[in-house]
Amino acid sequence: MKRWESLEDFEAFIVDGGIVEPSDEMPDVYRLAVFKFIELHANSEYMGGLTERDWIPKAPGLHRKLTALAKTQDEIGHAHLLYMIAADLGVKTRDEMMEDLLAGTTNFHNVFHYRVHSWGDQVAVAYLVDAAALASQQAVFKNCSYGPYKRILRRIIAEEGFHMRNGEELLLTMASGTDIQRTMMQDSINRWWLPAIQLFGPDSRLDDPLLRWNIKSERNEVLRDRYIQKFVPQLLNAGFQVPDSGLYQDGETGRWCISDIDWEPLKATMRNGGPDSKRRLIDAQAAWKDASWVRDALDEAVVSQ
């Protein structure tokens, strides 16, 4: 068990690349920050898993249904792993985290506050959103100071890698389809482009403690820009347009520049006031209630031992 005399000692340990374990006497501010970060990640995986589940019966063809099923299992599985390591921090139990999520008192990522209207939307989510989520998780993994989170992220990232390739395959399938499919796909890209780049959040604060404590390894704006440089050409190459009238390529540097983002709507969205937040929460509550017989059966198994 490690302990530190002061926050300064702790921060020096972190700067040296130190790894914090659950048995260590970490400063409360760090414990709480790591907990909140993991809880947000867990909630987002869980809410994402529920959307993915909606598409198991609707995905076109058996193969797509099977991959939707596998992805659902992965997302719910990631939530499960994350809730376990979050609970070990001793801030809230798993039950309390679920209660708070379903009551709408905690948060989940912006991208799960919008309606997935069509198969095209589902492809846009798989292609644009999964890639953005993966990029931000990789940036956490790279230099993460909390040991259990770093270890579990290795597994999550490997599986999200499958999802991202799956998303690209789906997008390219749509791109090489009929005019109707390409139009459908363009509509969906128009809806999901901005939420995907907003996933990285507004520019990081200069004194962001998550950066200082090696929970995040890169500033939000750096990750967002890297994503833009990668995905603008990819979309254009696939024959799609980027829904941003202010988009241009810098003649000298070759870099893609996007219009300024209005971050105000995102703030409301993150407080569960997004376009589809209410329905998503009601749906999650219903799913939780529907599965209560499983939890009851497990509890009875405990009692009967």
């Binding site: 048995s23 596998a70 599985g77 792993l81 376990m84 390591i85 597994r155 509890d299 198994a301």
Partner: protein
Amino acid sequence: MKTYEVFLKKAGKEPFGHVGSLDAPDDHMALLFARDSYGRRSEGEQIWVVGRDHILAGNQSDLALADRSHKHNDGRRVSELRTSQRLKKELGE
């Protein structure tokens, strides 16, 4: 519910490694959940699931006893001796 720790072993020479934890009502369900949570893609050839209360965890003071440098040899002395021998030989010739 009881908390279990899960260990997986890939085929081949790799040792068992800790992969994470889970909650289950009993040992039988713990194995089932372990497969679903940690072995969905045949990540391992063998699996161990151990109740967390059954793990005896030592702390750092159990391991970091004192200076144990005599139990290691980083080879620095060897390289110094080799260099000095080579120099002697070269100068002698």
